[in-house]
Symmetry: C2
Subunit: 252 residues, 2 copies
């Protein structure tokens, strides 16, 4: 049974793409069949896996120009595939606005892939526009990465409102997979303040695993590698490995 | 003579808002009259100054419902005013798409404020949509904060393309004020790699001042303060103070 998980947060730079890449890779390394769908015109998922993205992207797929198979690429990680995105996806943002059922374009494509994978992860841009809406409609659950800093905490209620609106009117089965605290920095009380606040609101929706700020995580994409293949033993790899296990075991 | 500077980068979390707040505060502390215009529905500039933003925001101003004066607030920093934003600005993104001269709404408002200020800073969201386009049309110059990490570097050429397009068709006088390297982390070679690359392309458009990663900078907004009022002597305050001087002296 395939689970489709959207990774969303309108706050920029909270680790959506980093989590899409490393959680997917971590889950694949535990022998699950995984697909990453880059749904951000920035196209960072592709580069984070060292994959070019000049043509045959998710844009051409959802607009019906090519098949999903034509856009799918096997990454360096066994069992982990990717459908990349590039700047053309910005065009989708504009073209879709005029179409009927404009929030369902990604869903229609991914429903047909459920038989091929155990998990599909969707990386979203830092906004609550039509692209993220497609992500929230296409998924079974949404995973929220949350940087333990003030501005990111501020944006959380706005994100939850949007999720509730989508649940009401477009995707009644949508639930929150979990909230992932990211970029923890032990040197400041800010990390604890934000963590306490979030756990206070979300209880056991918050993953026990928290991702520390670790330079290896930031370096890995410059080598086109998930962190596990860049430095197997660093704190970042250990954390995303722990998260992959916690994720697979589910939150009950 | 007033200079209007837009702070833009479609990559999330590179320090746009942090720079809008702290560069503006730093320039005001050097006895210049400064206005910060929050043009991001996340509304982080307001909170970073400890200012509520429930009504009378930049949205109501550009749609013509209230006067600019009604939305303007004096911050804790003498000579530094703010026009806040909130989630309503997302509505502008949709309403403007249908209007004539939709990229000029912010410009029309700010042209009338030139006589009241030495500098006007516009904070933009992490996207290249209609809100950032309004910012790029309303300004004299654009300041680009750039986190010294791989994904941020990747997005730079896309941003420069957009600036060139706007220069061609909407704002012929638009130039780049400068590129500000942010969140430098000495513990990784990544910072140097990115810095070398950017300086290689942009030469002396890159500010000599570079902002280090400093936890005081991340803590300050949780107190509703620019970093200078949170910890006057920390490295973050020193860096933004240096930047303010370099900014005022201009890049020639
Ligand atoms: N735990 C971490 N430790 C150190 N650096 C990190 C960590 N997680 C992410 N980063 C780095 O922080 C930056 C922002 O992360 P990322 O791009 O994944 O966030 P995002 O939410 O996808 O951003 P955007 O909103 O632009 O899509 C990147 O340079 C990334 O490499
Ligand atoms: N030099 C720095 N040192 C430490 N933390 C920083 C620094 N600059 C910014 N931050 C923190 O990093 C996070 C991202 O910064 P900020 O919100 O200003 O970026 P942004 O580009 O405006 O993000 P968005 O794309 O979401 O608008 C914030 O939590 C901020 O407090
Ligand atoms: Mg991303
Ligand atoms: Mg911002």
């Amino acid at each position: 049974d395939c689970k489709i998980v959207t990774i969303a947060n309108q706050k920029g730079g909270v680790g959506k793409t980093t989590t899409a890449i490393n959680l997917a890779a971590g889950v694949a390394l535990l022998d699950k069949k995984v697909l990453v769908v880059d749904f951000d015109p920035q196209g960072n998922c592709g580069s984070g896996f060292g994959i070019k993205k000049d043509e045959n992207t998710i844009y051409e797929v959802i607009m019906g120009h090519i098949s999903t198979k034509e856009a799918m690429i096997e990454t360096k990680v066994k069992n982990c595939s990717l459908i990349p995105a590039n700047i053309n996806l910005t065009g989708a943002g504009i073209e879709l606005v005029e179409k009927e059922e404009r929030e369902f374009f990604l869903k229609k494509v991914l429903e047909k892939e459920r038989s091929n994978f155990d998990y599909i992860f969707i990386d979203c841009p830092p906004s609550l526009g039509i692209l993220t809406l497609n992500g929230l409609v296409a998924c079974d659950t949404v995973l929220i990465p949350l940087q333990t800093e003030f501005f990111a905490l501020e944006g959380l209620s706005q994100l939850i409102n949007t999720i509730n609106l989508v649940k009401k009117s477009l995707n009644p089965d949508l639930t929150i997979e979990g909230v992932l605290l990211t970029m923890l920095d032990k040197r400041t009380h800010l990390t604890d303040d934000v963590a306490k606040n979030v756990i206070g609101h979300f209880g056991n929706k918050v993953y026990r695993t928290m991702i520390p700020r670790n330079i290896r995580i930031a370096e890995a994409p410059s080598y086109g590698l998930p962190v596990f293949l860049h430095d197997k033993h660093c704190l970042g790899s250990k954390a995303y490995e722990e998260l992959a296990k916690e994720f697979i075991n589910g939150k009950g």
